[in-house]
């Protein structure tokens, strides 16, 4: 467990939009092979943090290192896979099979004016298999359930074999019954394939048995540590100003009340 490579190293990171601070003095480090859940209420700066890590927003104060390199020097973006919220303008009537969609994740890797080779075909099948959709690979994506569609997008991110997979609230739009198996699949990706995962969610209670580390964020960093410590902290109660009742969350999930559909805890 020692000497593990630090994949993401964030120190002293602050960010503000106009006059409003959204992130203040954030320090997070993620080691290879870990599964980090970032939890926080809406408007807690989770999305901003993701954008900063992905280089979609320029950092203002503090440091971000990816795979040991300062983010401004970092070029190996294919090492990072990203799956955004499904809602993003995806045309469910698009006539493409699961296979074709996953294959599109290799577009950059195969390169302009180059064609798919046998090895790419095997990579595609492997990615589809790792999200458990091999039986459905020739189905049109429009025929799949919301949870299955989200798996397709994960497979598309996995197909270029990233070392780190970042997921932004992937269970939004996935029905409650399928959320469990969805998280189970994420756990497998982490444990069996050794992919480092960074999951942003407001549903941390559902996955405390899968994640290895937890970050609680609401502008400031309220907690950053291993899951066991988090459980203790949760029992003792988070600081009141965190504004987010974790206890209630995990309870709610235990009864599978389908809060994904509502999606908003504020």
């Amino acid at each position: 467990m020692n000497n593990k490579q630090v994949i993401i190293d964030i120190s002293g990171l602050s960010y503000s939009y106009e006059n409003e601070n959204v992130l203040e003095d954030i320090n997070i480090s993620i080691t290879k092979g870990s599964f980090l859940g970032i939890v926080g209420p809406n408007g807690s700066g989770k999305s901003t943090l993701l954008k900063l890590i992905l280089g979609l927003e320029k950092k203002q104060k503090g440091d971000i290192h990816l795979f040991g390199k300062d983010i401004s020097q970092f070029r190996d973006w294919e090492k990072i896979g990203f799956v955004s919220q499904k809602a993003n303008s995806f045309n469910t009537g698009f006539p493409a099979t699961v296979y074709e969609v996953v294959k599109s994740g290799l577009t950059k890797k195969i390169g302009l004016l180059h064609y798919m080779k046998k090895e790419h075909h095997l990579q595609i099948l492997k990615a589809i298999d790792s999200v458990g959709l091999l039986d459905l690979k020739q189905r049109n994506i429009g025929e799949l359930s919301g949870g299955q569609q989200q798996r397709v997008f994960i497979a598309r991110a996995l197909v270029s074999e990233p070392e780190l997979l970042i997921l932004d609230e992937p269970t939004v739009g996935v029905d409650a019954g399928n959320v469990r198996s969805f998280y189970h699949m994420l756990g497998d990706l982490n444990q069996k394939l050794g992919i480092t995962l960074l999951l942003v969610t407001h549903d941390i209670g559902a996955i405390t048995d899968k994640v290895t580390h937890v970050v609680c964020l609401n502008k400031y960093l309220y907690f950053h540590g291993e899951t066991e410590e988090f459980e203790v902290k949760k029992k003792n109660g988070m600081p009141e100003d965190y504004g987010f009742d974790l206890q209630m969350l995990s309870h709610k999930h235990g009864h599978d009340t389908g809060h994904e559909a509502g999606g908003d805890f504020q």
């Binding site: 303008s89 045309n91 698009f94 006539p95 099979t97 074709e100 599109s104 577009t107 950059k108 049109n140």
Partner: protein
Amino acid sequence: MIDAILQYEFLQNAFLTGIIIGIIAPLIGVFVVVRRLSLIADALSHVTLAGIAASLLLEKKFLPAGSLNPIYIGMVFSIVGSLFIEKLRTVYKHYQELAIPIILSSGTGLSVIFISLADGFNTDLFGYLFGSVSAVSRADFWMVLIISIFVIAIILLFYKELFLISFDEEHAKASGIPVKGFHLIFIIMVALVIASSMRIVGVLLVSSLMTLPVASAIRLSNGFKQTILYSIIFGETAVLGGLTISYYLDLAPGGTIVMISVIILILSILRKKGMVKRAV
């Protein structure tokens, strides 16, 4: 029919050209439809009409008869129109479909002015509007062939990029694919295909050959490649059937081609997906 085709060069031209556009119009049409740009073909066909009207006017008033092939000026107008559409789509980022009525009405307005200046309709124009079996020259055929080779080559070379841009433009951008450049090439290809097809189906019905076979194919197909294949089969059936009927019954081919497409579409809607899948 075969006898007649062997005997008359104009029929050879019409059928050879028809076979080609029966491939390229639905082929490019698949990308047009899935990107929800179906109406762009309509807008561009009206701009092409303006080019044809301008050409006919020039020929009538200033140049000796037969010195201009209207298809060339039509093509130039169509490409210029396509560039305007791309520009307008960035100007009105949040109302991208506005580009279509703007270009469509500009094209129609220009056409009407040119036609009036040329002192009204003539029979040539009728052929351009609704297609013609007899008006396709050997030169037209060669030009359509060259354009189709260009279009098919681009699609084969950049299939995976075009697919990704059509399916998920954001992801394409994030993967570093030059999305803007591809948009430009794509819209120019649409313009070229429209100008190529108008001799056979006519300006007013060109867009139907790009969209109706695709609309049928989407109902029945599994996956993108199959959608392309079915679209081409349906498009080809409509063109060849339409031209044949048009020749025997002396009807404008635009009408017969489109009506066969409509019949295929109705059948595809009526047929249950599972049944067709088993049959294919």
